[in-house]
Symmetry: C2
Subunit: 551 residues, 2 copies
């Protein structure tokens, strides 16, 4: 520094370089200050221009919020606060929607059982609520945001691969999807919430991103958006089933071809936040004892299955693989059939409410508990159906306790036994989940497929018990077969076969809270993946004309 000063003084004496009267460093600093002032002025102008489009109050609020944000959370690492917030919001949304769905289901049972006495009045009570709900959902979704129709996973895949489908991630779509989905699932049709929930999570993530960028003065960042969407896929599944690990695996499998490990951490963080809060809400508001899995099973861990039963499990894998392919094929044939019929198509499009109404009417008529519904546990909601199928006792055994009888009375009639009901349940769910998924409402297919698999597994288990009442184990001790274990394996295998993912196996472990059947489940799923090559999500791609995306 001293040397520089000296040389600078010498410079002043000459004529030619006389303009070097300041130190270079100082000059640079002054220039920087000038530039900074200019930048700030521009920013102020830009902000003023922006503020014309905002209310005064909103401006003040945003700036206050921005100030608080910059001095608290931004220092913690804003991305992580953002991800935690995403998890929190999804947990609350999931909890509130579940509450709404349960209320609808309970209302229907109450109408059917307590309000009406004459069979015809009972039938009207049973049928009216689903039809109204589906019609409301179809109408609401059509008016507010038709983009919210369907599962949303094909769209998410498309967006994550770089195609801009911006209208799929708006606030309107969010409102339509949340309300439409609650009404749809409240109707009791065999439809699920996983797919739509991934879509909802993605919308929430996008909106949150926009909110954060709007008061932070940073511009949108394409790569950051993709990261957020991948995390959103994970939290969607996690807060839907309380399955953080399964959610992250799902987001790995479904979203991209090359998965950035960076997203993996974000996904886990959000998913754990979502799943934890979702389960805690059940403790705080629903008087649950403690944090537990949704479909908690209680199989013995001492001897869950014999190693020889692995052969049966592998065979189940083959059957489920073929059955899953059959499901996807039937779904596709039905969609193509409906499209090909041009006349019917135009007629139905003119009378927009006719098709949803007819489907809802037929489906609820078939499941009417005094009619055909008695052969398919029609008077149970999804949660009770799955809990029953996963229950830890053999349905076909001789001695049955009172509590067990309470589960079983839905699954048998005076004339028929449980095996008949299981077949009826599978048939009903198979046919009507395909038909219902073509109604223009928000809906997913995971849970119905899961139920079909669970019923199939229970059927195999019960048949095996009837064939080998003493168990298949050679040697000293007799250990009977546990049909509930077959039900979990069947559920995992069949839903794995239809969605063509391995993550469902992990989701099943997390949903049931047991990992004892890991080897059978993994073996059957691996066998499935060698049996079939097509899958549901890809099929939806084809029918939605996003063919170019399939890789």
């Amino acid at each position: 520094m001293e040397r520089l000063k000296g040389s600078q003084h010498e410079y002043q004496h000459t004529l030619m370089y006389g303009r070097y009267t300041k130190e270079l460093g100082e000059f640079a600093r002054e220039e920087a200050i000038k530039l900074d002032k200019k930048r700030k002025k521009e920013e102020r102008l830009r902000n003023e221009e922006l503020h014309k489009y905002r209310g005064k109050c909103a401006t003040k609020l945003a700036s206050a919020f921005g100030f608080v944000w910059r001095h608290t959370f931004a220092k913690l690492g804003e991305d992580w606060v953002f991800l935690a917030l995403l998890g929190l919001i999804m947990a609350f949304l999931s909890f509130i929607m579940d509450h709404g769905i349960t209320m609808c289901n309970k209302g229907r049972i109450w109408l059917f059982r307590d309000l009406a006495t004459h069979p015809f009045a009972q039938y009207m009570a049973w049928v009216s609520l689903p039809v109204c709900l589906i019609l409301f959902s179809a109408g609401f979704v059509h008016i507010v945001a038709p983009q919210s129709i369907g599962s949303g996973i094909p769209e998410m895949k498309t967006i994550l691969r770089g195609v801009s489908l911006k209208e799929y991630l708006t606030f309107r779509t969010l409102v339509a999807k949340v309300i439409g989905l609650t009404a749809t699932l409240g109707s009791g049709l065999p439809l699920g919430k996983e797919g739509p929930f991934v879509h909802i999570a993605s919308i929430v993530a996008t909106l949150l991103s926009k909110l954060v960028t709007s008061f932070q003065g940073i511009y949108e960042n394409e790569s950051r958006n993709t990261e957020m969407l991948a995390a959103a896929c994970a939290v969607g599944v996690a807060s839907c089933f309380g399955a953080p690990i399964g959610g992250v695996l799902f987001s790995i499998e479904v979203t991209t071809v090359y998965f950035a490990i960076r997203n993996y951490w974000r996904g886990f963080f959000t998913a754990v936040c979502g799943a934890t809060v979702f389960r805690l809400l059940a403790v705080w508001f629903q008087k649950a004892d403690t944090v537990r899995a949704i479909f908690q099973t209680n199989f013995t861990m001492d001897f869950p299955f014999d190693s020889q039963e692995l052969l049966v499990y592998s065979l189940m894998g083959v059957v489920c693989g073929l059955g899953g392919a059959g499901y996807v094929w039937s779904h596709r044939q039905y969609v193509l059939f409906m499209r090909r019929n041009k006349k019917m198509n135009t007629f139905l499009q003119k009378n927009r409410f006719l098709y949803p109404g007819i489907v809802a009417l037929v489906a609820s008529t078939v499941s009417f508990p005094l009619g055909l519904g008695q052969y398919m546990a029609g008077d149970l909601n999804t949660h009770d159906q799955v809990s029953g199928l996963f229950s830890n006792f053999t349905w076909t055994k001789d001695y049955i306790t009172v509590e067990e009888q309470d589960v079983l009375r839905h699954w048998k009639t005076k004339n028929t036994d449980v095996l008949f009901s299981l077949c009826g349940f599978m048939l009903y769910t198979f046919v009507f989940s395909i038909v219902s998924s073509t109604i223009p409402v928000p809906s997913g297919s995971f849970i119905p497929v899961f139920k079909i698999g669970a019923a199939f597994g229970r059927l195999v288990g019960e048949l095996l018990h009837l064939s080998f009442p003493q168990g298949v184990r050679y040697g000293k001790i007799n250990t009977p077969i546990i049909p509930g274990g077959y039900a979990t394996v069947g559920a995992a295998a069949y839903s794995g076969a239809v969605t063509h993912t391995i993550s469902v196996s992990v989701i099943v472990f997390e949903m049931t809270g047991q990992i004892t059947h890991i080897i059978p489940i993994m073996v059957s799923i691996i066998i499935i993946l060698r049996t079939i090559y097509i899958n549901l999500i890809h099929c939806l791609f084809v029918t939605k004309n996003y063919k170019f995306i399939i890789n």
Copy 2:
């Protein structure tokens, strides 16, 4: 075709184009046949040239094997057969090595307990086997392949990122690693087998790849090799702990920055094959009842923990995070200290067997069951230590059954209680796992870290039980605290903190066969990942001078 023939006849009349006497298609076919003949001849020549370097018998065998292969497995999809084979080989290797390690451990206990009677003779018996085994391992590894020293995961990371370290994937390295690792772990030092096993799996995959390409006539394929190595990482963990899902997650986390979903399927397939066969071998050869987890726990699923205990679990996450960082820091300081001491360094390098011998001597002296060893369950092997820590009963309760006493007698002495032994165990494992990992033998650090965490969790659980003997739950029913649950959470949290991975949580679920504590484990791990930023594998990178790889 007819038109072409016509035009061809016309051509024959002119002079200039007279050479078109044949159809173009036919001409092309003939040319193709010629080329094919030429190619076959060249191939034969090339083969003959190759066969000079092979025995006649080997040639015939290879060609016969190649024929069988092409007509059976190649049609099934050879990659999948190859992956299944990899899983199978790894399962057998893991099983045989476990058997060898158990034999060494049993032999040591037998020498100590049944052969010698005088305390000094007992001491000599206790100390001699570990020192001999470590010296043998160090010598064997030094002579056969020094590349097999250490865990091998940093090398695998380096190879998977494209740096060629070919000498790390040879048959010599495989032999050195398998035999060296068995001897090292047989010595009873607090070292693990996960890291080396990933390395072993990678070598097996590479050798298998070479074998397949050699009799198939296809050349090596760089991208295919990478796929195989990623699958090998998964199967390494899977066949080591019987944890297929955790293995795949580990391979995702550790191997690359962008993970190809293609590898995910391969990884799962191989990992499931490996884990299933590994567990089945235990059924077939060790008279195990059925396929079960390695450290099967048996906690109640009705009320595993209260939601208020989540606070304690989160605090454990913070402590484990800091403790994990402390472990990595201490490891690094020790390594740097040993390096800086140039004089000692040169002295030890000249007397190559001195350092391993001293470490083995000191470690086994400290763990001598009649001396300090009684305060740290020194007379148990790793499996029994972990099983004890995970056991489903409270160690500090008043009434203890005979079976429980059988577990506890290793963990308390006449003068001290279990809490003292737990602290002693933690201290011993902490210090000597760091010191032992610097011996030039194949070894990993996962299992010792896992044991420290389990002991810490058990300590917290027991202290909590002493503070709240009636449990922390408000309201009607008293549900006591389950310290075994804290042990599993502690094990997952601490090993997650040291290795800086989430996959350990899944590995813990699969090792214990229970997923009831998923929420506490995930919460504490997520908290850890926000607490620390450095990790063991990266630290090994730094000390091994692969600094440029860290991203």
